[in-house]
């Protein structure tokens, strides 16, 4: 018993660099060997609500997709963007992209390029999707979109006047969209879309956000102000699986190209690394607490 106590006390004095090394290995090994451990992902209620809400949309419905993330949060949010765009394009829904983060323009371009390169859908710029680019101002820009989109955006990302783009006919404010989807990693994010646009004009809104934002966004989900939420990388993996199954079970339609392979998304392959690291973290927390308790007892 005495020896076990000492082992636990010594565990608490481990060099932090050894802990970093263990965490690195717990991420690296599953990434190098994805077949080592494959844990199933179960779809949570909130992800299912997002999927069902977007699935209820019909051909030619208009969705405003807001990119509010950058390179630092790309691993979490980008797989969601791809899965959402795959889902929307497979239903012939018109996508309107805005960026409220400076790097959002690049992220949006990256996501669209990935979709176009996959050759899965017959999508054309200006007909199926449009990128309105970036505007600085956060909540003020959201308010501008809510009340008069022309007061903020007059050109798309290629500097073409919006009046010359047929997709923009009859788009005056947020009420002309059937759904708003926010890909968010901070401020401005889903809370600002709830407050400045969608609550007041009663436009359905949903969000995919970083894990760290989830606890702040959950009250909006519980109250129905957000139609579900895709929570971090596990949420992205769940949504990817839902879209993957949906596309595989989908009969050929006019929006999709024939004989193209549907590939599973990136978040799914990252989940085993995530699970193993979480397990390691839980062990660290338990051992750390036992060690802290024993050290305090010994000192007393």
């Amino acid at each position: 018993m005495f020896n076990i106590k000492n082992i636990f006390i010594k565990l608490g004095q481990l060099d932090r660099r050894l802990i970093y090394l263990l965490v690195s290995l717990s991420v690296l090994i599953p990434l190098l060997n994805p077949n080592l451990l494959q844990l199933p992902t179960k779809t949570t209620k909130n992800t299912q609500i997002v999927f069902d809400s977007l699935n209820d949309l019909k051909e030619n419905d208009k969705v405003l997709l807001s990119f509010e993330y950058g390179a630092s949060t790309k691993p979490e949010i980008h797989p969601m963007s791809i899965a959402i765009l795959n889902h929307l394009f497979s239903k012939g829904i018109k996508v309107y992209i805005v960026s409220l983060w400076p790097e959002g323009v690049m992220m949006a371009a990256d996501a669209i390029n990935e979709i176009v390169d996959s050759n899965l859908f017959k999508v054309e710029y200006g007909i199926d999707y449009i990128n309105l680019g970036y505007k600085q101002g956060g909540p003020v820009v959201i308010r501008g979109i809510a009340t008069n989109i022309g007061s903020v955006f007059t050109q798309d990302v290629h500097l073409t006047l919006l009046d010359e783009i047929p997709m923009m006919n009859n788009i005056k404010d947020v009420r002309d969209f059937d759904f708003v989807f926010d890909l968010s990693a901070g401020f401005p994010g889903n809370a600002e879309w709830v407050q400045y646009a969608c609550d007041e004009y009663k436009i359905p809104l949903s969000s995919g956000c970083t894990s760290i934002m989830v606890t702040d966004a959950i009250p909006y989900v519980e109250s129905g102000q957000l139609k579900g939420i895709i929570a971090g990388m596990p949420g992205a993996a769940e949504y990817e699986n839902l879209v993957y199954d949906y596309l595989n079970n989908l009969e050929y339609n006019k929006f999709m190209n024939k004989n193209v392979d549907i590939k599973p998304g990136k978040a799914t392959s990252r989940m085993s690394a995530q699970s193993i690291t979480h397990l390691l973290m839980v062990l660290f927390i338990i051992f750390g607490n036992i060690s802290y308790y024993l050290t305090r007892k010994k000192n007393n």
């Binding site: 660099r17 909540p139 007059t154 989830v214 606890t215 109250s223 979480h278």
Partner: protein
């Protein structure tokens, strides 16, 4: 070896990623350089994109529409934001820095006014409405709603400081503390999950760039960095010892 722009970008990305990770061992010149580059590039990028995507079309496009051609009509009222912007930059001048207070006053007033209504509507009225008990649901739903209601009331009591937390108020506020603890625990769990996700993203790229296609950039840079840091660390230790001897 293919010296394309993309390849240079890849090598630079790997170098910067590993430089940032090197901080886990301790502060070092690689980390410092990467940190300074990050700050500089971020500031430059944000300044450029904000100017060309917002200030140029939305402000100058309204003041000089025929020159900028952003699709806006001439609007003299936009002289006010231009002036407020110039006032803000006058913070750099000792003599005229007081003018920036006008711009700050405008921003504070406008933001407060804008936030007041939306916050009241979305975070107060709708949230209170949603915490009401709805008995037209199943038993699990009702239990969940009761738990939320207890959490809301006890949490609010915990932040009620006009009465000493003793007796019934003390007991209720203690329940509030437990709810807050659970919230902090969940936040911590999600924060860890988020950080691990980002680590996975970086590792995935480092693994990708380890291939022959990218000229083995990750292992080459990693080994070079370890060698340089070891030499630097040995030299630093020697210098520290010399300094200590000189002091004595």
């Amino acid at each position: 070896m293919n010296f394309s722009i993309e390849m240079i970008g890849v090598w630079f990305a790997v170098l910067l990623t590993l430089s940032i990770f090197s901080y886990l061992y301790g502060d070092n010149p690689f980390y410092k350089s990467a940190e300074h580059i990050f700050v500089g590039v971020s500031a430059g990028y944000i300044f450029a994109i904000t100017f060309w995507d917002t200030i140029w079309p939305n402000l100058f496009g309204r003041l000089f529409p025929s020159y900028v051609q952003a699709g806006f009509k001439f609007d003299i009222i936009y002289i006010i934001p231009l002036l407020l912007g110039i006032f803000m930059l006058l913070r750099l001048s000792k003599k005229y820095s007081w003018l920036s207070r006008i711009s700050i006053a405008y921003i504070v007033g406008m933001a407060a006014g804008l936030k007041f209504y939306v916050f009241l509507n979305s975070n107060l009225i709708i949230q209170i409405k949603s915490s009401m008990l709805d008995f037209n649901t199943d038993i699990i739903g009702i239990i969940n709603q009761i738990i939320i209601l207890i959490g809301v009331i006890s949490g609010l009591v915990y932040f009620f400081f006009s009465k000493e937390h003793k007796g019934t108020i003390g007991k209720i506020s203690k329940v509030g503390i437990y709810f807050l603890m659970i919230k902090f625990g969940a936040s911590f769990g999600f924060a860890v999950m988020g950080r691990v996700s980002l680590l996975i993203g970086r590792f995935e790229e480092l693994i990708k760039y380890s291939s022959k296609e990218y000229s083995y950039s990750t292992p080459i840079i990693l080994i070079s960095m370890v060698i340089i840091l070891t030499i630097w660390s040995v030299k630093e230790t020697k210098n520290d010892k010399l300094k200590q001897i000189n002091k004595r």
